[in-house]
């Protein structure tokens, strides 16, 4: 099915409040690092894929035009893939299909966002239609709070157990971020501080929420033929899955969340994965909210429905556990939205090529990357492995 495709280099900015650089400079920082990591140069690139969240975020529309020089795409073909929060993952998918189709050998995928230029929650609210949903969605926390409550209610999760499990997830991500030089939030916090932090939108508390970040990520995708001529180790794309459903939040079940379940199944099928918890070595789950990370474990088959809190408390998803999740500190500590899904792909590729440094999961060979988006509608998966 198509040609084999490998990731041969990744680059990330130091994410955070980047008032020290302009938007083009921020993007160039990530692109440059991807070239340095891969040993390639801009002349080697056949095509480019970019994506961001909507332009209200930075005040520039169709910013592939503005950033063309920073991305080094002048004179080359470009696709601008956008699927809301899952944009970064969809950008990676586009690059994958481009190479798999045989119309390019080297594709540069770039995702970026400079969120401190604008008002992210105002932007996010405009994702909802202006007639019915916009007046009450209250940005991303509003939507995900409703979904989290649906999940808590369905599984009858006791409030104390829930708070404990979410706090463990939060603490693990914030601790792990210290091992990731690119992570934005580096905060030493205690379990008690997390549990006692103020409510944002029930059940979401201050430390259950991701930050706004400025940041960019670049990933180089390459055909098998070219990848095998390179000295550095490839991360092979083993499986790709994506699903979406309707925009009206109340119309579908967000606990047995079909788009997450089916996207994962599509990717597992391609990768030949039967038991994800046993076969995957690490997962980068898109976790802007602690509760979403727990809910997604169940949809991805990392555990049974209703089991996520118990297993999280047992350390199943911590480093040293059965399936370490988000050793990078995840979205909870770094969220430049248009880049975020692509960062998950980059981190997964870094893990299976042994390049993750202090947050390396020892011996990782098979990794899952995930992103979600829309009004809690979209889920995208990419599975990468060290073996073809």
């Amino acid at each position: 099915m198509g040609r084999a495709v490998a990731i041969m280099g990744t680059g990330q900015t130091h994410h955070g409040k980047r008032f020290d650089v302009s938007y083009p400079e921020l993007v160039r920082e990530a692109v440059q690092r991807a070239f340095e990591d891969s040993g390639l140069s801009p002349e080697d690139v056949d095509a480019v894929v970019t994506g961001t969240m909507p332009s209200m975020m930075e005040g520039i529309a169709l910013n592939h035009l503005y950033l063309a020089d920073a991305i080094q795409v002048v004179g080359k073909p470009l696709l601008k893939t956008e699927t809301c929060g899952s944009t970064g993952m969809s950008v990676a998918h586009t690059a994958f299909y481009w190479v798999a189709a045989g119309l390019a050998d080297v594709v540069l995928a770039v995702g970026f966002e400079k969120m401190y230029e604008g008002d992210s929650q105002a932007t996010m609210t405009t994702v909802a239609d202006p007639w019915i949903q916009r007046s009450f969605v209250a940005g991303a926390p509003g939507i995900f709070a409703m979904q989290s409550n649906m999940w808590i209610d369905r599984h009858h999760i006791p409030a104390e157990r829930l708070r404990e499990a979410a706090a463990v997830i939060s603490l693990r991500n914030h601790d792990d971020a210290f091992d990731n030089p690119y992570a934005h939030i580096k905060a030493r916090i205690s379990l008690e501080e997390i549990k006692d932090s103020r409510i944002v939108t029930y059940p979401i508390r201050r430390w259950d929420v991701c930050p706004n970040s400025d940041g960019a990520c670049a990933v180089l995708f390459m055909s098998e033929h070219k990848a095998k001529q390179m000295a550095n180790p490839p991360a092979w794309i083993k499986g790709v899955g994506y699903r979406g459903d309707e925009s009206y939040l109340g119309d579908s079940d967000k606990v047995r969340w079909n788009t997450a379940i089916d996207a994962a199944k599509e990717a597992y099928h391609q990768a030949g994965i039967v038991n994800p918890r046993r076969e995957l070595d690490v997962a980068e789950v898109y976790n802007p909210f602690t509760f979403m990370e727990l809910l997604l474990y169940e949809c991805f088959g990392f555990c049974d429905f209703g089991e996520a809190c118990d297993l999280a408390l047992q350390g199943t998803f911590s480093r040293g556990g059965d399936l370490p999740c988000d050793p990078s500190g995840g979205v909870l500590c770094t969220n430049p939205i248009g880049a975020t899904g692509l960062i998950r792909v980059a981190e997964a590729a870094m893990q299976v090529t042994g390049k993750a440094g202090a947050h390396q999961v020892d011996g990782a060979q098979l990794a899952l990357a995930h992103a979600m988006g829309g009004v809690s509608q979209f889920n995208g998966i990419m599975i990468v492995g060290s073996q073809q």
């Binding site: 198509g2 592939h64 004179g75 470009l78 809301c84 119309l103 599509e266």
Partner: protein, 380 residues
Amino acid sequence: MSGRVGIVAAAESSPAITQDNMMDAVYKVTKELLNKVGIDRDDVGTIVTAASDVFHSGISCANSYYWEASGGFLKNASRQDGDSLFAFLYGCLRVLSGHFETAMVIALTKGSENPENDTVTSLYADPFYHRPLGINETTAAALQMRQYMERYGITAEQCALVTVKNLRNALFNPYAHIRKSVTVDEVLNSKATADPLTTLQCAPKSDGMVAVLLAAEDTAKALTDHPVWFRGYGSAMDTYTLGDRDLLRGTLPQAAQAAYTMARLEKPSEEVDVAEISEPYGFQELLWCEQLGLCAEGKGGRLIDSGTTHLDGRLPVNPSGGVLATNPYVARGLYRVAEAYWQITGKAGEHQVKKSVHTALAHSTHGFAGQSHTVVILGD
């Protein structure tokens, strides 16, 4: 490339300004396409839509809103922003990758719910250098037009003739938005927008929904007796800052050459039977014809004077009426593909060109003075 990908069918919305809401408009064109082929939503492998966050009725993350109306419920689908030829290419890539047998490509813009196009295009301008100058697509095009006239001696009348020709063609296209007969004088004497451009030389703001079904070779042959094959594409971005570019030497020649090479066209001016070219500003059709190699450099004025590009000419350009007649901003690229498809299959109705058509060219552009160009070659 593991085989060929072909267009099985196409559907366009009509009329150009619709009273339907976005959901209904998207649903109708999607359903019309499926009905034409006689298949169900379940038979579609993947969907790629084209819509923009800034040309989308005030709703961001465009495809999250119309996802189910486009048949995407629980499907692997994606979206391109800015240009619907991007979505066409992405649909082709998904089929050529071998992961999907069929792909539906849908482009949509409901201009009637948007602000003026240039209110939006002025947001392409960076806020530090370009935006304070009032740069938008129209003012950038005016700079380009002035240079074009001065460097090559192209006349205002020759530029105006593009509007006369394309609006005349639009009279024969039931899907066109602006349908009226105009003279060169009327074009030149219409209200000035940005000198030397006048209102009738600038594209309108239209509603437009268009959908095409793509399929891998064997499936395409099973679904239709007249598949139209994707034979070549080329695309190229130019540098951003207007002052850093020679506005008359952009990246279109490069995009065109890539498309011709892939389609194995050696003499495009002779081998292309009909061309659908995005000309949001009249003179651009002449300039793009030159850069596509359909005539020599600086000879765009002579090309239109000769009648070559008329509906009954040797190389008809924009028999549909082009973007000057119908401009659903993001969707306009895929309209070019649909129109090229109909010309090749002989289904264009009253605006079917007289000659037989085997090879057609579809082109789209967006950004200031043609910063981004994409060229697609289709053939039977």
